[in-house]
Symmetry: C2
Subunit: 371 residues, 2 copies
């Protein structure tokens, strides 16, 4: 089957670019004495997870997940060593324990003393990392907080270590920014681990990571594992902030032309707000790509700066680059759209149509969406 034969809109994944991205991360992580724990929140695919875990050099020993639906899916496919990296609630403990009772090793995170007590009181307490805030101001306690030792004490034997995430690395705009934020992330995790150990607690795991900081950290001393996910697929936002190049975007949305307005130098496509997402993260980067950058059916940037200017539910309105011949399009012509934020865009689609540098569709890989 060829790309031109696919129903639109749909998600296209280039396996060659994916593998190149996996290799780049493996090389970056291999500079340090740490394991990689690939975050499957972006790809949500067992086929991608297998490639990520089998990439030479990566020392990948398990995965990170963002939902319990992912945890169940990957466990059912035999990936047992997992970290569920969103703050747990007491109500979700039974679901984790059920997976672990069946053989999985799903670890969880908390930054709350009451929850720590609930974990310890559970019949089969999952191994738990204490979430530490290294500057993002989202989840986690300050590494210097007195609560750290209180939570550790309440967790008792369930305590497995420290977890931190520099989500604010996305506000970096240079490799120097990334390296600086990576160091803050490292220091936050290591400081919390040191305090735990000084107080007599065991702290096996010190987990940090985001794609930018995993790629560009100068030192990971004291860290045992790094987590990263978006690096596998890439997107316009990550390209703009320097995580990877513009040619490293592995996922695009295949779409059909459904309308022409040559006088306004516009065309309509059947990839709208649902197929692309309403993410506008490139609004804050050097180049604002609207709701996505328009590529040709081969994934090449032959349409200049043409971008999706407006995104209604099932309609994308493309403003054509001044150099493009507006009347040359026909209804049914196929294009590909590079996404602003691939985690958001991919989540609208239940499968990838896989290519490898050509327009031959070589596989169809399912995704696990929802909760």
């Amino acid at each position: 089957m060829k790309l031109a034969d696919l129903p639109t809109p749909c998600l296209v994944l280039d396996r060659g670019i994916l593998q190149r991205n996996l290799d780049a991360m493996a090389r970056a992580v291999a500079r340090h004495d740490v394991a990689l724990r690939p975050h499957m929140k972006t790809a949500k695919s067992i086929d991608v997870a297998k490639l990520a875990l089998n990439t030479p050099l990566a020392r990948a020993q398990g995965i990170t997940v963002s939902t319990l639906a992912e945890a169940e899916y990957f466990a059912s496919h035999g990936i047992l060593d997992q970290l569920y990296a969103v703050g747990i609630t007491p109500q979700k403990l039974d679901q984790v324990a059920k997976l672990n009772d069946a053989g999985a090793e799903v670890k969880i995170i908390t930054d709350d003393a009451d929850v720590a007590a609930a974990i310890a009181a559970h019949a089969t307490p999952p191994r738990t990392l204490i979430e530490v805030d290294c500057g993002e101001a989202r989840g986690g306690i300050d590494p210097e907080s007195p609560a750290l030792l209180d939570i550790a004490a309440r967790l008792g034997p369930a305590l497995a270590g420290i977890m931190t995430h520099a989500g604010h690395s996305y506000s970096g705009r240079s490799l120097a920014d990334m390296a600086r934020i990576a160091e803050a992330e490292r220091l936050g995790g290591v400081r919390a681990a040191e305090r735990l150990r000084a107080a007599g607690f065991q702290c096996d795991i010190v987990s940090m990571g985001s794609s930018p900081t995993a790629l560009y950290a100068n030192s990971l001393d004291g860290i045992t594992e790094v987590r990263a996910g978006v690096y596998m697929l890439g997107d316009l936002f990550q390209a703009e902030i320097g995580t990877h190049g513009h040619d490293d975007i592995a996922v695009t949305v295949l779409t059909s032309v459904i309308g022409k307005r040559p006088a306004e130098r516009r065309i309509l496509v059947d990839a709208g707000g649902l197929a692309l997402s309403k993410d506008r993260s490139t609004e804050a980067t050097p180049h604002d790509f609207g709701f996505g950058l328009v590529l040709d059916i081969n994934g090449h940037r032959s349409l200049g700066t043409s971008l999706v200017k407006r995104a209604n539910q099932e309609h994308g309105v493309i403003d054509l680059d001044p150099t493009i011949d507006a009347p040359s399009f026909h209804i049914g012509d196929k294009l590909r759209i590079a996404p602003n934020h691939v985690c958001m865009t991919a989540a609208a689609h239940d499968r990838y149509f896989v290519v490898d540098g050509s327009d031959d569709v070589i596989a169809m890989w399912p995704r696990v969406n929802g909760w």
Copy 2:
């Protein structure tokens, strides 16, 4: 089952509010001599479709759909009279024809002469409406365009009428705006129909609509049917532009508190950018609700102006109203979030948990997402 027992995040639909919205639209349409063709792009549910079609006064004679996945789903549930209201491509004709060969009556739209010829040349041409632009500048030709008669001639016996959509009614900010845009929508459709008839073509259907214009049109003379969808469920954006009241939002996202930052008057919830969508449409309305307005578990507005300020993939960061006691929250507490744009938010979820004014879950209704 109670709301408090549900896994989060998930979608909650209040059947009482839904029925009130269906009744309001039925009353509005009953002022005119037209049929209602409910647009299922928002609800994407057979259970909601049945209620919409069975609402007294509505004279509902079929549905509108926005994807061929919806067309197949609703046809499989016995709703045969459909309008697929997104410009068709020649490649999609076979899928429509297959449904129609099996007994459905899926009508399609086009604004293109080449596509009209492809429709006419198909073995079983679907009945086709010519899409006319009444001012939105998205799909459709000008009602005065010479292309109108050319497309009609090419369609031949497949020609079924005219379709227009005033999507720009969403830029209205008063009922007077809505009424004015509705009149432009009506005039566009009627003018195109008159030109067709004057040239000897038959024009059975003159279809217009959007929730604001269907509700607030002063006249629908010359129109045979109106389409509308978002009115069923409602959202913050529609409330802000005056389509309905703030108490008429039938769909909310149930979420759990997963983090506390009392010093910053913030809490974290497990409804992030995926569960809420990244839609920011209320940015352009009198009240900007961030990524959603926070309600209590009963759907009441007891948390003042608390709103989701930031939305990462699985984390929502809530800024609490100044009157709310920030330290009073516990991990696992449940809240509900009213969405900016319900079409986008609902699409991340594969089902509704249905309530009717209380916290008893009385049903689970599936949704048909994707393409």
